[in-house]
């Protein structure tokens, strides 16, 4: 009897010593299309497309030739608009996009009209997007598209710039051009009270700070804070059109989706970012 009691207690103590807790977690971007079309992805990728022509590249605009053409994949030719020496530019000039790689891996076609006025030390550029269109790089079904239309103003003083959207800037997404043609039209907003600010005093650390919003009226608003600043290194990685550091803090406000936050972190590998911990490669 006592032996049985002892054995039972020993077994009990043995079981107790076996107790433990473990677990694991993971996030993955195994469905990049789901990320690209979710509110956070839309807020990030449309921003990268709309700000593709960086303000620091506009300073030579007074010498822009007519019909600057950006061909092929994303390259410094898009971000760095180099005027042809001795060619007086008309005002406005036209930036033509011909199959330029978009942030979501599609191709950008269309044009931006670029006009400017100078007042004292400040030159204010107005970029008007003339239905700049993003379509899949190769034929897919359904043939989705993004269309950007609207204007943003860039006031350049020395090596700094302030970027705002003076009127409603629209980014329309059409997942299927075939009827029922259920497109969604997002509003891209950079307010004058909290604009984007650009500084390229140090060309190895061109920085972009500030806030912007992407809103799908009646559905959601995503407010994005660039902090720490997005940084481009135009000297060591001149061929990289994407930030090599910086964070977007996204804040979702939605009656239907609820409220949520997430972060997009840009890594030192060109075009690589993580969104909620999952990796997404821009331009792919």
């Amino acid at each position: 009897m006592k032996l049985g009691l002892g054995c039972c207690l020993l077994v009990t103590l043995g079981l107790i010593s076996c107790g433990g807790t473990s677990g694991s977690t993971s996030v993955n971007g195994d469905n990049p299309n789901a990320i690209k079309t979710a509110p956070a992805g839309v807020s990030t990728l449309t921003f990268m497309d709309i700000e593709l022509v960086r303000p620091d590249t506009l300073t030579g605009a007074s010498g822009l030739p007519t019909g600057v053409t950006a061909n092929g994949t994303l390259s410094p030719q898009v971000e760095k608009i180099t005027p042809e020496v001795g060619s007086p530019a008309p005002n406005p000039a036209t930036l033509t996009f011909n199959n330029v790689t978009a942030a979501n891996g599609g191709v950008i076609n269309g044009s931006i009209t670029l006009g400017w006025t100078t007042s004292g030390a400040t030159t204010t550029y107005t970029e008007t997007f003339n239905n700049l269109t993003v379509t899949p790089a190769t034929a897919v079904t359904p043939a989705w598209s993004w269309v950007y239309s609207g204007a943003q103003q860039i006031a350049v003083t020395g090596t700094t710039a302030i970027v705002t959207t003076p009127s409603v800037f629209l980014a329309s997404y059409n997942p299927n051009p075939v009827p029922p043609n259920n497109s969604s039209t997002y509003q891209f907003i950079i307010s004058s009270s909290n604009p984007l600010t650009v500084n390229w005093t140090d060309l190895s650390a061109v920085s972009l700070l500030g806030d912007y919003q992407i809103a799908l009226p009646t559905v959601f608003t995503v407010t994005v804070d660039l902090s720490p600043a997005l940084v481009w290194n135009t000297q060591s990685t001149p061929s990289c059109g994407y930030p090599i550091s910086g964070t977007l803090s996204l804040d979702l406000n939605s009656a239907t989706l609820g409220n949520a936050t997430t972060t997009v972190v840009f890594g030192s590998t060109c075009g690589q970012m993580t969104i909620s911990g999952a990796t997404l490669n821009l331009g792919q």
């Binding site: 009897m1 006592k2 049985g4 009691l5 039972c8 207690l9 077994v11 009990t12 079981l15 107790i16 010593s17 076996c18 107790g19 433990g20 807790t21 473990s22 677990g23 694991s24 977690t25 993971s26 996030v27 993955n28 971007g29 195994d30 469905n31 299309n33 789901a34 990320i35 690209k36 079309t37 979710a38 509110p39 956070a40 992805g41 996204l250 979702l252 239907t256 989706l257 609820g258 409220n259 949520a260 997430t262 969104i275 909620s276 911990g277 999952a278």
Partner: protein, 258 residues
Amino acid sequence: MRFPLACLILVTALPAFAQGTQSHWYLDVHRFTPSLTGYFNGTSNGEPMDVDLQGDLNLQKSSTKIGFGAAYEGTRFGLEISRDEQDYAGMARIHRNITINGQQFNANAVVTSSFKATNNNLNWTIRALKWSQFWIGLDLGARATQVQLDASAVEPFTGVNATADYKTTMPIPQIGPAVGFTGLNGRVVGRASYHVLEYKGCTYGHTGIDLRVFPISWLGVMAFYDNEHFRVPQGSVNSNLDALLDRNGMGFGVVARF
């Protein structure tokens, strides 16, 4: 400390004076499908937890594996081992942010989850007082419950697929009174027990009722009721975790006696 020890020694010695009856071995297969409720809130293993198994994940009974048990019921003591396993599954659009093992799932995500509970039981019953058809005793044993919670969801805000799993083993001593009876010339055998444990603010209660009917002397059917309540308040054994697990249900099976 001395009083419970004295009681234990007394109860252990009492079977020496108990009346003896015939001993039996029992082998059974059974199916047990209890309901499940509970939550985890706080920090476990250094990772945040905040999830309600029903309110958030809507876990429902999914499948039950056949459990088995073996028991020796002697004149002075009984010894049982048993094992059963249940699976629960859930799919729900969550209405608040939840966290499983540090992985947060934001509100409105459609979370697919599963919960697996495996129970291994060992119980030694000291039949302290025994009459011809009735006995009163004390259960001494242990129950190791292993639970595994898995969840995955595509975040509606980010489109990112997030997964998390949480696995814990809870070995719980089973100590408490037990009673049993035999009737109709051994054609009906029943027992009931209540195991209770309180430790550093944690409370555990386990009620079991088991009834076996033998139309044939060596083969019978069994039905049992099992209720288990496990509460770990914040600041008890785990200073940062508040947890509750409740399981409640009926089981049925076939039992052989020899």
